[in-house]
C-alpha cells in the first residue's frame, strides 16, 4: 500500500467516491466523516490530509488551525465556495493547496501526487540523474549510460538548465536569455540549432523533449 491519506469529508457519496479513487491510485485512505478539533497525538500517521472546508461540527478552517499547532503534514483543502477570501484564509492558516468543487477524480489524484513528491524536488543536487543520463553540474561532465559525452559550453549550459528542473518545461525565452551568449546573436533559432546538436550528441537516448508552444524538457527518455 502507498501513502496513508486522511480524508475529512462529511458528504457520503463524495467521500466514498474520493476514497475509491485514492485507493485506485494506490493510496491508503482513512476517512473521517466529521471534523474534529485535533490535539497533538490524535492525528493518525498520515502523509497528507484532504480537508473539506464546509464540515458539520467543526468548521474546516478551525480544524486546520488546530492541526497546524502541532503538525506540518501537507493539507489539501476542498472548497465548494468559489470564494477567494476562504482560500486566502486557508493558505494563511497553513494549507498547502486547495481544490474547488467540482473536480475530476484524476485532478485530485494528480494534485495529491504532486504534493507528496514536492519535498524531494527542493534539494539542489550536485549530480542529477535522469534516466540513462548523468549530469555533474559542478564538474561540467555528462555521461550517457556511463559513456562520457563532450559538450560545448552552451550545450552543457542548456542541458544543465533542463536538468535542474527535470520533467518540467523550460521556456525558450528563458533559455535564450540565460544560456545563450548574450554577446553573440541570441535568438530562438540559434537555440534550436544548439538543441539539435545536443540531441545528436546524446543519441540514441532521446531525453530532450520539445514542449509544444513552450520550450524544452528533460525526460528519462529511452532510445527509440
Amino acid at each position: 500500500m502507498g501513502d496513508r491519506i486522511l480524508l475529512v469529508e462529511d458528504d457520503e457519496p463524495l467521500g466514498s467516491q474520493i476514497v475509491g479513487h485514492l485507493r485506485g491510485a494506490g493510496f491508503d485512505p482513512v476517512w473521517w466523516r466529521e471534523g474534529r478539533l485535533l490535539v497533538a497525538g490524535e492525528l493518525p500517521d498520515v502523509s497528507l490530509v484532504v480537508l473539506d472546508l464546509m464540515l458539520p461540527g467543526t468548521y474546516g478552517l478551525d480544524m486546520l488551525k488546530a492541526l497546524r499547532t502541532f503538525s506540518e503534514v501537507p493539507v489539501l483543502i476542498l472548497s465548494a465556495r468559489n470564494d477567494t477570501l476562504d482560500k486566502v484564509r486557508a493558505l494563511k492558516l497553513g494549507a498547502d493547496d486547495y481544490m474547488t468543487k467540482p473536480f475530476w477524480p484524476e485532478e485530485l489524484v494528480e494534485r495529491v501526487r504532486a504534493r507528496l513528491r514536492r519535498p524531494t524536488l527542493q534539494k539542489e543536487q550536485a549530480v542529477v540523474e535522469v534516466g540513462p543520463l548523468r549530469i555533474d553540474l559542478q564538474g561540467h561532465a555528462v555521461q550517457v549510460r556511463g559513456r562520457p559525452v563532450e559538450l560545448t559550453r552552451v550545450e552543457f549550459g542548456l542541458l544543465a538548465a533542463l536538468a535542474r528542473r527535470p520533467q518540467e518545461a523550460v521556456t525558450r525565452q528563458w533559455l535564450v536569455e540565460h544560456v545563450l551568449d548574450p554577446e553573440r546573436e541570441g535568438t530562438e533559432r540559434t537555440l534550436d540549432v544548439h538543441v539539435s546538436r545536443l540531441r545528436r550528441k546524446l543519441a540514441p537516448v532521446k531525453c530532450v523533449e520539445t514542449v509544444w508552444g513552450v520550450g524544452y524538457r528533460l525526460v528519462p527518455g529511452e532510445d527509440a
Binding site: 468559489n82 493547496d97 475530476w104 528542473r165 518545461a169 525565452q173
Partner: protein
C-alpha cells in the same frame, strides 16, 4: 398643538409676568417717592406752626391732612395727562380727581406725636415696635414700615423732628390704604389688555400666510410621496419655509436616484437569473441526452462509444466552468468590496488550471502544456477571479481546438518586474476583424454572453473584466501556430516574505 395656538400661548406667557414685574417695580418706586413727599410735607407742616400746636396740646394733637400729591400727579384734566388705554371701559373711580391709577385714592395722612421715649400722649396713637424705635435711633432722621392691619395696607413713617426734647420729638405719619387697593398685582385690564390683544391679533394675522404655506408644503410633500416622489414641490421665496421646500426637493431627488438604482439592479438581477437558467439548462439537457443514450446502449448490450462518454464529461465540465463564471460575474458586478487583493502564486495558478482541464483535454487528444519560471511568480490580485480568467482562455482553446491539437500556457517574467502569461493554441483562431471587434466591444452586461455561441461571450467577458480590474493588459493575437494567442501582462509584486 397648532402653531397659532402655541404662539398665542407663548405671547401670553411672556407678556403677563413681564407686565406684572414692571408693575411691581413701578409700585415700589412710587411708594418710595410717596414716602419722601410725606416726610417733606410733614416736616414743613411741623416747622410752620405744627410744633407749637403739638406741644401745646400733645394729648389731643393729631393732624389729618390731605395726602400730599406725589410729583407725578397733576390736576385732573390738565394738559400732559398720561395717556390711558383707548376705549377704556374700566370701572368708575370713586375719586373725583382723575383717572390715573393712584389719583384721588391717596388716603389722608395722620400725624401722631411721640416724645424721646417713644411715648405718645395721644391715646389714639398707635404703638411703636422695637424695629421702628431702633431704626429711627440708628438712622437719626426717619424710618418707614409697611404693614397690614385688618386687611388694610398701612404705611408708617416715623420721623425725627429737628429739635430735641418735648412731647413732639418724633412724629409718626401714617397712611392707611383700603384693602381693595389694586396697587399690588396686575394693573387694570384696560391698561395692558388692549395692547396685548392688538399684539396677539397682529401676530396671529401675520402668522396666517406662514401657516398657509406650511399647509400647502405638507400637502405637496404628501402628494409627492404618494406619487413615488415623481411630483415635485414648489419652492417659493427665500425664507426658511422655502429652505425647507428646497431641502425636501433635494431629498426627493436623492430618493428618486436611489429608487432608479434599485430598479436597475433588480432588472440586472432578473436578466442575470434568466440568462443563467438558460445557460445552465442547455448543457444539462445535452448531458441528460448523453446519459439516456448510454443507458439505452447498456440495456441493448451495445458497447459504449468513447465519444459519447467524452461528450458527456465535456458538458459536465462546461457546466462547472459556467457556474464558476456566473459566480465570478456576480462578484465583478458587485464591484470592489467583493474583490480580494492578496498575493497570488501564478505558477501554482497555472498548474491548477492545467490540472482542472487535463481530464477533458486528454480524451479530446489535445495536449496541455505549460512552462513557468523556476521560482514562484507572485502578483497581487484576486486568486479566484484570476484563475477563472486564465481557465476560461484555456478551456476555450480546448473546446474549439482540433483533435491532436495543443494548448500551452507560458509564464515568463521580465527584468522590468512584469510578468507575461500567454495562452497559445493551434486551433482555428479568430479572424482578424472578429478579433479586433472582440477587444473593441466593451463586453457589456449579460448581452455579450448570449450573443456568442455556447456562452463563450461570458467567458471572455470575465477575462476582460478581470484583467481590467487588476489594471493588467490583455492582448489577442494570432499565434505562431495558426491559432490564437491570448496574452496577459501585469506587474510583479515583491515576494511576501
Amino acid at each position: 398643538m397648532k402653531l397659532r395656538l402655541r404662539l398665542a400661548l407663548t405671547a401670553v406667557a411672556v407678556t403677563v409676568p413681564t407686565a406684572f414685574a414692571l408693575v411691581q417695580v413701578e409700585h415700589s418706586v412710587r411708594r418710595r417717592t410717596t414716602d419722601e413727599v410725606i416726610a417733606e410735607s410733614t416736616l414743613a407742616q411741623m416747622q410752620s406752626g405744627g410744633r407749637e400746636r403739638c406741644e401745646a396740646a400733645p394729648d389731643t394733637w393729631m393732624v389729618r391732612t390731605r395726602s400730599p400729591r406725589p410729583p407725578w400727579e397733576h390736576d385732573g384734566g390738565g394738559p400732559g395727562e398720561p395717556p390711558s388705554g383707548p376705549g377704556n371701559g374700566g370701572p368708575p373711580r370713586d375719586s373725583p380727581g382723575g383717572k390715573g391709577p393712584f389719583r384721588g385714592r391717596m388716603p389722608p395722612v395722620q400725624l401722631f406725636p411721640f416724645d424721646s421715649q417713644f411715648v405718645s400722649r395721644n391715646a389714639q396713637a398707635p404703638a411703636l415696635d422695637d424695629d421702628l424705635r431702633e431704626g429711627v435711633r440708628t438712622d437719626g432722621v426717619g424710618v418707614r414700615r409697611y404693614s397690614k392691619e385688618d386687611g388694610a395696607f398701612v404705611q408708617d413713617l416715623l420721623l425725627r423732628m429737628p429739635w430735641e426734647g418735648g412731647p413732639c420729638e418724633y412724629v409718626l405719619a401714617r397712611r392707611v390704604e383700603p384693602s381693595n387697593s389694586p396697587e399690588v398685582g396686575l394693573p387694570p385690564l384696560n391698561i395692558w389688555g388692549v395692547p396685548t390683544l392688538i399684539l396677539l391679533s397682529a401676530m396671529v394675522v401675520a402668522l396666517g400666510p406662514v401657516v398657509q404655506r406650511l399647509r400647502r408644503l405638507t400637502e405637496e410633500v404628501r402628494a409627492s410621496s404618494g406619487s413615488h416622489y415623481q411630483q415635485p414641490v414648489t419652492v417659493q421665496g427665500d425664507d426658511e419655509i422655502a429652505e425647507l421646500a428646497r431641502a425636501f426637493q433635494e431629498a426627493r431627488e436623492e430618493i428618486q436616484a436611489q429608487m432608479a438604482h434599485q430598479v436597475a439592479r433588480e432588472q440586472t438581477l432578473r436578466d442575470f437569473l434568466a440568462n443563467t437558467t438558460h445557460d445552465v439548462m442547455t448543457p444539462l439537457t445535452v448531458l441528460q441526452g448523453h446519459l439516456a443514450a448510454m443507458q439505452q446502449r447498456l440495456r441493448t448490450g451495445e458497447s459504449l462509444e468513447p465519444g459519447l462518454v467524452n461528450s458527456a464529461m465535456g458538458e459536465a465540465h462546461y457546466m462547472a466552468s459556467l457556474v464558476h463564471n456566473l459566480g465570478a460575474a456576480a462578484r465583478l458586478e458587485a464591484g470592489a468590496p467583493q474583490v480580494q487583493h492578496a498575493p497570488v502564486d501564478l505558477n501554482a495558478l497555472v498548474s491548477r488550471v492545467l490540472g482542472r482541464h487535463q481530464p477533458i483535454a486528454r480524451p479530446r487528444r489535445i495536449a496541455l502544456e505549460s512552462g513557468v519560471p523556476a521560482t514562484t511568480t507572485w502578483v497581487m490580485g484576486d486568486e479566484t477571479l484570476l484563475e477563472q480568467a486564465v481557465s476560461n482562455v484555456v478551456l476555450n482553446g480546448i473546446r474549439y481546438g482540433r483533435e491532436d491539437g495543443h494548448v500551452a500556457v507560458v509564464l515568463e517574467t521580465t527584468r522590468q518586474q512584469t510578468f507575461h502569461l500567454r495562452v497559445i493554441d493551434d486551433g482555428p483562431g479568430i479572424p482578424d476583424d472578429e478579433r479586433s471587434r472582440l477587444l473593441e466591444r466593451r463586453f457589456r452586461g449579460n448581452a455579450a454572453r448570449t450573443r456568442a455561441p455556447q456562452g463563450q461571450g461570458l467567458g471572455l467577458h470575465i477575462v476582460h473584466n478581470v484583467v481590467e480590474l487588476h489594471g493588467w493588459t490583455l492582448a489577442l493575437a494570432p499565434s505562431d501556430y495558426g491559432g490564437l494567442e491570448v496574452g496577459f501582462t501585469g506587474p510583479l509584486m515583491t515576494p511576501p516574505d
